[in-house]
């Protein structure tokens, strides 16, 4: 592949604790091109921490270390806090799990989208307003004028998440990090939101990091998948070949899911082995 958008090498996230240092992410390396990259794992596997570490959103006492986190050749770890602010939102955006906690409850949606947009560009208020309406239409929100005047509590979960996506995509970032963007949504709404995200990512040629615990969803939606276990990448595979994954952990996760077409008396229970956590991280670089 040509130059990757993002190149992460040997990323560590550490939290000092009373019982010594806790390593949440341990030596993770991967690259992201103009593709949809899935990161899956259970809670505590370090997948969200990886996403946050890229944007340097880990607060002290947590520490982020890496050989490099290159965005178009610039090392994000060497940037000042001030320069980082120009990266966040502008060049790398993030959509979090629950729109209820990401939107400001006492501001109208219009005011929030316009504020977010004008922070990064010198557009006039009226230009920002038109842009916001356009963006809301792009995420299939009917009646965007009304939505602009509404407050977050008047929106359903699916609408809230689409609004978040609209807000994040307005500055036309190069990379979108979506951290469990659909787990708070119903299955039928989930599909809609994913389709919209997919369309926008394709049209704009963005790179997408899709963090999820849902194996089937990731297999369906992404191009490439990193499987994380206790802070390390244990397996990298093409999404359409996830069913043929080899690592016992991935196999265990796949087998523990009930399937409608293959009814079983009992589900397989994952037997964890210490060596999975000890084995070095597999590189997700291309």
């Amino acid at each position: 592949m040509a130059d990757p958008l993002l190149d992460v090498e040997d990323l560590w996230v550490r939290f000092p604790s009373r019982h010594g240092t806790f390593d949440a992410v341990r030596g993770v390396s991967f690259t992201l091109g103009r593709e949809r990259l899935g990161i899956v794992g259970e809670s505590g596997s370090g997948k969200s921490m990886t996403g946050r570490a890229i944007l340097r959103l880990i607060r002290p006492p947590g520490q982020v270390e890496a050989k490099h986190v290159l965005l178009d050749g610039e090392n994000l770890l060497e940037k000042s806090e001030r320069d980082m602010r120009a990266v966040r939102g502008q060049r790398i955006s993030m959509v979090m799990q629950d729109p209820k906690f990401s939107l400001n409850p006492v501001m109208t949606i219009g005011a929030q989208i316009i504020e977010a947009y004008r922070l990064h560009s010198k557009a006039s208020k009226s230009a920002a307003y038109t842009k916001a309406i356009e963006m809301l239409e792009a995420v299939s929100i009917r009646d965007p004028e009304r939505v602009m005047r509404a407050y977050p509590h008047e929106m359903s979960g699916g609408m809230g998440q689409r609004i978040m996506i609209a807000m994040m995509l307005i500055p036309n970032p190069e990379i979108l990090i979506a951290d469990e963007p659909t787990s708070a949504l119903d299955v039928s709404v989930q599909r809609q939101v994913l389709d919209i995200m997919d369309k926008l990512v394709k049209e704009r040629g963005m790179g997408l990091i899709f963090i999820s615990h849902d194996l089937n969803l990731v297999a369906d939606f992404c191009d490439r998948v990193l499987i994380m276990y206790s802070g390390r990448i244990v397996e990298v595979c093409d999404a359409d070949k996830l069913q043929e994954a080899k690592h016992p952990y991935t196999r265990g996760l796949l087998n523990s899911l009930p399937h409608l077409d293959a009814p079983r008396e009992r589900l397989d229970v994952l037997k964890r082995e210490d060596e999975w956590a000890l084995a070095p991280s597999v590189s997700g670089r291309i």
């Binding site: 259970e42 809670s43 979960g157 119903d186 299955v187 039928s188 709404v189 989930q190 599909r191 615990h213 194996l215 265990g252 996760l253 523990s256 899911l257 009930p258 399937h259 409608l260 077409d261 009814p263 079983r264 008396e265 009992r266 589900l267 397989d268 229970v269 994952l270």
Partner: protein, 250 residues
Amino acid sequence: MSGATPMLEVENLDVWFGLGRDRVDAVKSASFSVEQGESFGLVGESGSGKSTILRAITGLAPDWSGSLKVAGEPIPRKRPKSFFKKVQMVFQDPYASLHPRQSVDRVLGETLRLHGFSNIDNRVKRLLDDVGLGQAFRFRYPHQLSGGQRQRVAIARALAPEPKLLLLDEPTSALDVSVQAEILNLLADLRAEHGLTYLMVSHDLSVVGHMCNRLAVMKDGEIVEILSVEDLRTRNARHEYSRHLLDASL
């Protein structure tokens, strides 16, 4: 179906919240029955009223009309203690349903005491063994337990009064898939051992397909269709909405 009395009969159940202009009809004339020893699923989107049915049965949603019968006996407005010996509920979020400052021993012991059991010490031990936790967990607090272990404690608490009917409100949706498998296996074992009847709410059709014999599909407070698991597996849904739901989740 045999001639035995169904474990649960729900007929023309309406549940609403609010008054006058603000009234929301959460469940509209729902009818179904669950046989003894059966496992029955309720599926639908959020807001379709599936959890509200469970809450109406246990008395957590006070405004309801229609007829509810457990083992042939109508449920009175004011539920007597004997009702909760027959019917117990397990909630979705194990992080929210356990008291953060009460140890496992106290949670289970208090439940047993309230239901007038003697020999509490032995019963707590047995409950912990039943849900596969063991004695080491007896004096722990919820924050010292993982999500799956907490859900096991919540299940033990529900089993304490030796109920016949267990209402399960999304018992695994807050858990990882590997832990979900453990809890689903545990629930299946408990049903076989204690001859329990389950009424289970879930948005995950493959979980319902794994656990249940029959299921009702709900939309906007109404039951649009009752399917058997075979229907579900062969995608044999008649109603348009159930087919849509099947397509979306598979």
